[in-house]
Amino acid sequence: MSTEPATKRRGKAAKEPAMGRDKLLAAYRDMLLIRRFEEKAGQLYGMGLIGGFCHLYIGQEAVVVGMQLALKEGDQVITSYRDHGHMLATGMEARGVMAELTGRIGGYSKGKGGSMHMFSREKGFFGGHGIVGAQVALGAGLSFANMYRGNDNVALTYFGEGASNQGQVYESFNLAALLKLPCIFIIENNKYGMGTSVERASASKDLSRNGSPWGIPGEQVDGMNVQTVHEAAQRAVAHCRAGNGPYLLEMKTYRYRGHSMSDPAKYRTRDEVQRMREQHDCLEMARNDLLAMGVTEGDLKAIDDEVKAIVQDSADFAQQSPEPPESELWTDVVIEEAR
């Protein structure tokens, strides 16, 4: 396998862009927010303000942003522990996410979940799960609830190519196909499950076909380009909303940073990372497309400033918000509620 995404990247001067100017601008802004947020999180980790595991999403931003823009009210999102980007894409507040990373009361989980465990019922974000592959069966359950309630909402179920070897993924594929669940399975193939390359972990060479024994349609998508992601998202969402059962998207993507903050990255070369950054960066691509559409440097600078301000504000908040009081030790273990 080459290091290049399998599907061809859209040319910069494509005649019919998947996204109009406004949508692409929105996508650029959201991707930039995730990039800058994650850089700041890395910085706070370096200062010892964030503890434990911290899995950054830098490089993969186009995937969640392109998918999210195809959703509507009531749709759900669930993912693994590399979840900061997903949360920001669903519209969760940067402040609440950053304050959870620093373990403060102002965090989405009051400081009790951390980087890997945040949720927002309001934004349709169902976590934030630390057991590799567990979110796939849970995501099937979210889509089951949509079917049970008879609405046309869909559930986006993200997992990595590393998780794609877990048995419950295939149990979930079977259940989703059997029950015709409106579930979009999204494999974020960033090529490495921790330090093990996909070639060393998976006998399947085309993960988009992993649902084929159950008749689940699959596509390989250039996950570094937000427009191709968005096009695929629209096809998948339309398929699921129409009651045709699940859909599988393999996003060929790349993380620039280590698996977690303490990853020395022996398993890949600096050149490989550099090449992806220079030739396939989602922000650069979107930026060039936007400039070609007549957006000015000034417009982009304004977005840059807005995003920087949000991220700085979130970092300030995450340091000012107090640690959870000791009384929080004993809350939320079970719901104490009269029947």
């Binding site: 200062m47 010892g48 465990h117 169902f126 069966a137 995501g139 359950g141 419950q168 977690s260 029947r339």
Partner: protein
Amino acid sequence: MGAEILMPALSPTMTEGKLARWLKKEGETVKSGDVIAEIETDKATMEVEAVDEGTITRILVPEGTENVSVNSVIAELDGGKGGGAAAPSPAASGDKVPEQREKAAPLPQAEDHEARAKKDEHPFAATAATPSAKPERDWGATQKITVREALRDAMAAEMRRDADVFLIGEEVAQYQGAYKVSQGLLDEFGPKRVLDMPITEHGFTGMAVGAAFTGLKPIVEFMTFNFSMQAIDHIINSAAKTLYMSGGQLGCPITFRGPNGAASRVAAQHSQCYASWYAHCPGLKVVAPWSAADAKGLLRAAIRDPNPVIVLENEILYGQSFECPTDEDFILEIGKAKIERPGTDVTIVAFSIMVGMAMQAAEKLAEQGISAEVINLRSLRPLDTETIVNSVRKTNRLVTVEEGWPFAGIGAEVAMQIMEHAFDHLDAPPVRVAGLDIPMPYAANLEKLALPRLEQVVEAARNVTYR
């Protein structure tokens, strides 16, 4: 706007490192993502990336410096300060790095001791025990039904009451239940609410937990609890812990039920008691009914409970008949034990099928002039410590009975609760009667010997009463 570049930590345990190399010189400009330096620890070499943009105006720590403290200023951007702290982030680098496993990073912090100290102030909360509330209500007229019927009636009643309740499991619909517990439910509620699942416990349990996160109230039937081992990750990591991890946002109103413990002649893989496994875990509730009334009242309570509840049934009890209240609203409270037989000389604590054996033992003991009080735990988490403690304060002696293994079992926990709350009231060391510490044998004679026997319970009671 100037900023300082600080020495970054590579892990929560790192306190200092070597600044191996500067990749940028004073006067050079950097932008976000540029690699500016390399630092080394005993574990790894990492690249340091710039976060803020600007010109490096001063390098304060020359390359090659050892033992540079985390968070000390190593360089200044645009004259330093003013723009807030700007520690660069550590990034992955190439070679010359020894093996480093992610799990090695976080170590227990000093706060753990504080937390532990705090916990000691809440002995009841720390051990999932809750004081019992009001005395049990008299539900009036009763009728004799089997435990099987009681369980079915409980599900039917709750499904009529709440459209969000549904039943999934293997053979629960068309087959009418592997043990006929769900008989008739498909006819009444249809295939949308009574769903046959393929043999895929891990998958369908995860699916049910996901549905419960959205507010639906699934009942998951395991053909036996032995098969719940395939799904235990979702029961513990997904169902039991998410409420806490979400700061109270995401509850999981789900019921897991099915036969638990030994059946008859089905050998080791189909004859295990999971009571202490599940009762161990905060975030779960665990009940173990004995009679038909227990079964109906506790299962209804489990389905209505906003938390994940494990209902440990027993295959041998399914066909046994008991008086059960006919009141349509009959329900029991989770966390409340029942004194099945009052007595004054010894307290016998049991749950599930062992309550029947304890009752028989009490009968035999009465013939010998020993008055035994039998406590049917009903709920294992939360445990009704108050009822047990009050009983032991009266009898001063304790025997526990369970089918499961003795080591770290329910009996061990009950005995420890008594140590903590009624030690001075004991006139004899507590005795536990439990299954033998072996996998269940198949042979009829050996199986019989592996499970608690009536004479052992009687003997234990005689021993603690020194008769």
